[in-house]
């Protein structure tokens, strides 16, 4: 059976990994926003069905990244609460 110290250490590592993941997701979100901006500028007024579909896909990806970050924030909060209760 693991000791409290071992559990805390493991959760600390997990929190660090989640933090690294959050950083990567934020970077992905920033890069995606740049891509959307570039695409909007290059293809303004195109009205092409495939372009609109691609832009919708990028918007969906952006929303998913936001949802992802929101979920990680709750995960971190829950893990921290558990550590505090040990």
């Amino acid at each position: 059976m693991a000791s409290v110290a071992e559990l805390k250490a493991a959760i600390d590592v997990a929190l660090q990994q989640i933090g690294d993941g959050q950083t990567a997701v934020q970077a992905a979100g920033e890069k995606l926003a740049e891509a959307q901006q570039t695409l909007a500028g290059a293809l303004e007024g195109s009205g092409h069905e495939t372009v609109e579909a691609a832009q919708a896909s990028l918007t969906q990806a952006s929303q998913e990244l936001e949802e992802c970050l929101a979920a990680t924030l709750v995960a971190v909060e829950q893990a921290q609460l558990y550590v505090a209760s040990l």
């Binding site: 929190l15 990994q17 896909s57 990806a61 990244l65 992802c68």
Partner: protein
């Protein structure tokens, strides 16, 4: 460089630089954290954020699918305006190289026209070839792309109708005739519905304990409709539905084909609706995918 070529170069750059690498890093980190929390949870019943981390992983995976679909759509656009995927003018017919897949806007060859010299037809219709492998059917010349299926939601509706009708040939035909970008889009439009439908089947939001039951409920029918589907693909989809970390891939296990998760998501949606005795809700194919973590 012409204006069109300049636009093509910008679009190509956007498609090439979509943040798939950053997402891969995020998924790797979330996977490591999940493993760590799983170990801790052996000592405690407290979920300590693991379900939320699974939800975050699912959102990141869906974002990755959406980015890949966007890449396919941008490639199709480049081809439609007469540019190759690298932004250069499209090669002339006599020097054409095998392409990823025929874009929707490119007209089919004239009747009676012979096959393109040096072009492997399977390279041009890789989607249809893979669907034929999955469905155990054939990929023949009669399966020309269906221009009426213009988006993934319409394809999902057709797939669901095919599953519910019990007409396997029809289902296989609808899938085979889809354009690759439309077909790949099933991976973006179907998963948000799956968790809700699985929840209806189970009577509660799917969780890790439900994986075995969902597998038992769905595996036989999915196997019947997709006899060529590698088993890990369905497992991976169901673990996502149950908000679990993706199953570990064996070292010698190949990366799933790009079409597999998309086709599976569409077919499983149809199987679940059939089990529930329901049709695809009219608004389900129009709405944005549901947001937020369920359960």
């Amino acid at each position: 460089m012409s204006i069109i070529e300049d636009i093509g170069a910008q679009v190509r750059a956007v498609a090439d630089e979509l943040p798939l690498a950053q997402l891969a890093v995020a998924l790797e980190k979330f996977g490591q954290a999940t493993e760590r929390l799983r170990w801790v949870r052996q000592e405690s019943a407290n979920p300590m954020g693991a379900p939320e981390l699974s939800a975050a992983t699912e959102h990141a995976e869906t974002a990755g699918y959406a980015l890949r679909v966007a890449q396919e759509q941008l490639s199709a656009y480049l081809a439609a305006i007469g540019l190759a995927a690298d932004g250069a003018p499209a090669p002339k017919a006599d020097e054409r190289q095998p392409r990823h897949d025929a874009p929707r806007e490119v007209a089919p060859p004239a009747p009676g026209a012979g096959p393109e010299q040096g072009v492997d037809p399977t390279a041009r219709r890789w989607w249809a070839v893979r669907v034929a492998e999955l469905t155990g059917g054939r990929e023949g010349p009669s399966d020309e792309p269906d221009e009426q299926v213009g988006d993934s939601r319409e394809l999902l509706r057709r797939v669901v109708t095919g599953v519910r009708s019990g007409d396997r040939d029809r289902l296989h035909r609808e899938l085979r005739r889809a354009h690759a970008d439309v077909g790949l889009g099933l991976a973006a439009v179907a998963p948000p519905l799956l968790r809700d439908l699985a929840g209806e089947l189970l009577g509660h939001p799917p969780r890790a304990d439900d994986l075995g039951r969902l597998r038992r409920e769905l595996d036989g029918r999915v196997r019947d409709l997709l006899p060529g589907l590698p088993p890990p693909v369905l497992d991976a989809l169901l673990t996502r539905v149950c908000r679990m970390p993706p199953p570990r891939r064996a070292e010698d296990q190949e990366q799933p084909h790009a079409a597999d998760p998309a086709v599976t998501a569409g077919v499983v949606t149809g199987v679940l609706l059939d089990r529930l005795g329901r049709d695809l809700p009219a608004d389900a194919v129009e709405r944005e995918p549901s947001r937020g973590a369920h359960g």
